[in-house]
């Protein structure tokens, strides 16, 4: 890696903090993102209404939801798949107005599908606070067969659809919510560097 060099499209995530002027807080978290939710409510329990969606694919991650629920008395809608989460989010968005602040915490595999749904409703991405938690696994877009590879931990990654060996770049497409993956042996076929687990 070249020192002092970074790719502009690579997203940089922050830590969730309340937007105190918001008239409504809308939070979507998954897995370890529950810890970010808990930290947020430990900053303050806001005056305004909150809407909370929690994607808990296992019991272990549900514990954060329980804690927040007990602590605040807030209702948390718990979903067991990304699909059902996005559906519930969409339904809830129908009743949101300007002045709603959005918060998302979880792995990139949660953050970007949620951000995309929000943008379909006209929410400016700069106005979605994001915190990355848990695994650094990437979604990788194979530029050759144009499919998404979920949960990529290794650079070099073999595309699940077309089988090409992809080098994973930091170039990030907000449209696809994924990093670009390019064929690594385009110039010298068969010369494939060893894969390393760089996105644990």
């Amino acid at each position: 890696m070249e020192r002092g060099y970074s790719i502009k499209t690579k997203p940089i995530y922050g830590t969730l903090v309340w937007q105190e002027n918001a008239t409504h807080h809308f939070l979507v978290v998954a897995g370890e993102g529950g810890k970010a939710l808990l930290k947020l409510f430990q900053q303050m329990v806001p005056k305004q209404a909150t809407t909370i969606f929690y994607l808990a694919e296992d019991d272990a991650s549900k514990k954060y939801a329980d804690t927040v629920q007990k602590m605040t008395g807030e209702t948390i809608t718990i979903c067991d798949s990304l699909e059902s989460l996005l559906d519930s989010v969409k339904t809830a968005l129908e009743n949101c107005y300007m002045g709603t602040q959005f918060y998302v915490a979880g792995e990139e595999g949660l953050i970007w599908p949620v951000a995309k749904t929000l943008s379909e409703f006209g929410v400016d991405d700069r106005n979605v606070f994001k915190e990355q938690t848990g695994s650094l696994a990437r979604r990788v877009f194979c530029v050759h067969c144009e499919t998404i590879n979920e949960n990529v931990h290794h650079d070099i990654h073999q595309c699940g659809t077309c089988g090409l060996n992809l080098i994973v770049r930091d170039h990030f497409s907000r449209h696809w919510g994924a990093y670009m993956g390019f064929m690594v042996d385009g110039e010298t076929p068969g010369e494939i560097p060893a894969a390393q687990e760089v996105y644990p």
Binding site: N21, T23, M98, G99, G122, V123, D124
Partner: protein, 317 residues
């Protein structure tokens, strides 16, 4: 600054103290196309002095045979609007800048809320033709003092139908901005143009209601403030200019033959920013552009609207 030479083809009084001017190119050719919300800077020769004022192009944006502007005669005018009202008649030749747009509609918005106060209606007239063409959802809220001040009301009714709402202050009272901004759907953008208190008020309310600043757009054409005279010495041009009390720094420098940059002449765009190398008093900022940190640092000024309480200032120009 590249300029267009135009001739006034029609003048009409459309409301109390508001005149509407139509301008066509002097050479009879079409004028450049422009987008909704654009303005031009009109240069006027007032007693041997060049005076420049920015005016919104009212559209329609599909018509490039003529430009339409409206000028309100300002009670405390420094001459520009009075000159337009009293000396400019059909046949008068004027020089205008190329159109620039600092108040364009946001194309990704789901809904546009346009809020106009008085003569602040003008940029919306061209924006509306754009919005009608692309078929976006919008509402226009137009506040004015009383029926005699309702410039372009009929035209607006014809253009917007039931999307336009009118607030004659003497009949309906003030437009309630809190109510207006409270229940707008996600993806709305609000645009405001009007007197300072209205623009500042709306910006504040939007912020308090949690609207992101990226969804709030405003345009004010600030008239440069007057003040005490002072001397500016220009490092690069190696000259000194005395700024009289009634001219802005930019105007006085232009008069002295300095080719200083500008775009909006209203403290909004930042194009005229210059570095202040030295100042033996304090800078008096009137712009909407510099950040608080930049104001505290006191090493930049926007000469189109700002000045100083000092005797001498050195700038890097």
């Amino acid at each position: 600054m590249s300029a267009l030479k135009v001739k006034v083809t029609a003048v009409e009084e459309v409301a109390e103290h508001i005149k509407h001017f139509s301008l066509a190119a002097l050479d009879g050719k079409p004028l450049p196309y422009f987008s909704g919300g654009s303005h031009v800077v009109v240069s006027m020769d007032i007693n041997g002095r060049t005076h420049r004022n920015a005016y919104s192009l009212m559209g329609p944006t599909s018509d490039n045979s003529q430009y339409q502007i409206a000028v309100r005669k300002q009670e405390k005018s420094r001459g520009g609007s009075v000159f337009m009202h009293e000396n400019v008649t059909p046949g008068t030749e004027l020089e205008i800048s190329m159109p620039t747009n600092l108040f364009a509609i946001h194309r990704l918005a789901k809904k546009h809320i346009l809020v106009a106060g008085g003569i602040g209606i003008t940029p919306f007239l061209s924006q509306i033709t754009d919005l009608n063409r692309i078929g976006h959802d919008y509402e226009l809220h137009y506040a004015y003092r009383s029926a005699e001040h309702a410039a372009f009301r009929e035209q607006i009714e014809a253009l917007c139908g039931d999307k336009a709402f009118f607030y004659p202050e003497n009949e309906t009272g003030r437009l309630n901005i809190t109510e207006l901004l409270s229940k707008q759907p996600l993806g709305s953008h609000v645009y405001v143009c009007g007197p300072d208190p209205m623009v500042n008020g709306l910006e504040l309310i939007a912020k308090q209601l949690g609207w992101p600043s990226t969804a709030v757009h405003s345009e004010k054409f600030l008239a440069p403030a007057s003040g005490e005279p002072f001397t500016v010495s220009l490092l690069q041009s190696n000259t000194e200019v005395v700024i009289p009390g009634d001219l802005s720094m930019l105007e006085a420098m232009e008069e002295a033959g300095v080719d200083a940059p500008f775009l909006c002449r209203g403290g909004a765009c930042g194009r005229c920013e210059v570095e202040v190398v030295e100042c033996d008093g304090e800078l008096v900022h009137h712009d909407d552009y510099l950040s608080d940190a930049e104001r505290v640092a006191a090493n930049k000024i926007l000469p189109c609207v700002s000045r100083a309480n000092c005797s001498r200032m050195v700038i890097n120009l």
